[in-house]
Symmetry: C2
Subunit: 243 residues, 2 copies
Amino acid sequence: MKGNLTIVGLGPGPSSQITQEVEFALMQATDIVGYGPYVARAATADAVLHASDNRVELERAHHALDLAAAGRRVVVASSGDPGVFAMAAAVFEALEHRPADHGLDIHVLPGVTAMLAAAARVGAPLGHDFCAINLSDNLKPWALIEKRLRLAAEADFAMAFYNPRSAARPHQFAAALDILRDVCGVARFIVFARAVGSAEERIEVSTLGAATAEMADMRTLVILGSSTTRRAGRFLYTPRSAP
Amino acid sequence: MKGNLTIVGLGPGPSSQITQEVEFALMQATDIVGYGPYVARAATADAVLHASDNRVELERAHHALDLAAAGRRVVVASSGDPGVFAMAAAVFEALEHRPADHGLDIHVLPGVTAMLAAAARVGAPLGHDFCAINLSDNLKPWALIEKRLRLAAEADFAMAFYNPRSAARPHQFAAALDILRDVCGVARFIVFARAVGSAEERIEVSTLGAATAEMADMRTLVILGSSTTRRAGRFLYTPRSAP
């Protein structure tokens, strides 16, 4: 039997934001691999579920490749889009060191990543050039994050921040806000979008002057406007044109 | 009758990459407004279709708001995600100048934007921090684009370029490649993803040293790797960790 591996994005939360091709891949799967809460969302009647803890991405990727190499039809389930701070990069990192498996049938199916769902809730804050930065320093030095924040602010990008704040390093998001205030000023719009699409969704539109680190946790997607981001009624948008 | 306006993303092309909530919005619509090819993709049996030319985004937005204000259930259809270089920002720009319509029932439904679909085709080149830049200078000065390219390269972002090249300004994409070669060097990976998801799809993985402006047209989404982007078998990915 010839196995395969499909790395899918479940979108930000609601099943109505899953694409049809991802649903189809799940229906075909013999095995669904992923972080526990995502496997629970992806579960089908037929598939064997392989739920694992957070922060074991590489082990999980090897496990999925093992299953596919053994002939199973494996789906690796990510929240949002699998290519944005999610499982696709981990699977290819594992694959790189397994040359015997380079011929495996592997596909990535995109999804709606959190920043797009959060942006849609408030209007169109990412309507002009923007960047996406993972604020977690689990896998990169904090100095690199600070450098990127300064350069992105100087480039006047709108910005989306993933994983803004954890219990283990609560001070770092405060430091990030200080840098952004320094370069962008206190009037800049900032959006805290928590648990978008879920029953616990909470969206807060604020400014850098009023923002505090406590307004974010690990379930929050933060969007910072560019210098041109403005209000239109109850919405926030970044115009298509720049001066 | 109370009208409403829903700005939806159809995804990059195939109907299998549309979310369920967007399909549902289309089924409810009395009117579908958009650029001709997108309206054709979104068409339903019941809706009145309002197809318009490219580059009339603001007029189209006012037309959609007029229809909603008159009590129609209007869908504005964008390709990809409506908030990324698409119609959502145009609708809010029009809305800003129509205070009488600020109470209208308006929603944005996200979609799979082109860079996520293109990235999925080659692996996970946006697996670490990245930015998205519209290379068209229709609505912003070229000098700002050059400045953003240099700062983004200095920040070592992976980059996705929308609208890289038009017949009207073929020299500009060549100038962009020169800037990127200057900062990133010739070995940097670059991906040309044309018409992703369609029958004419063509994906080319190259390097800045070998890349020429002719490898892109207006249907191409270009992805530049960061300094850490590497191969895993036939795939390209940007590792989750950075030194």
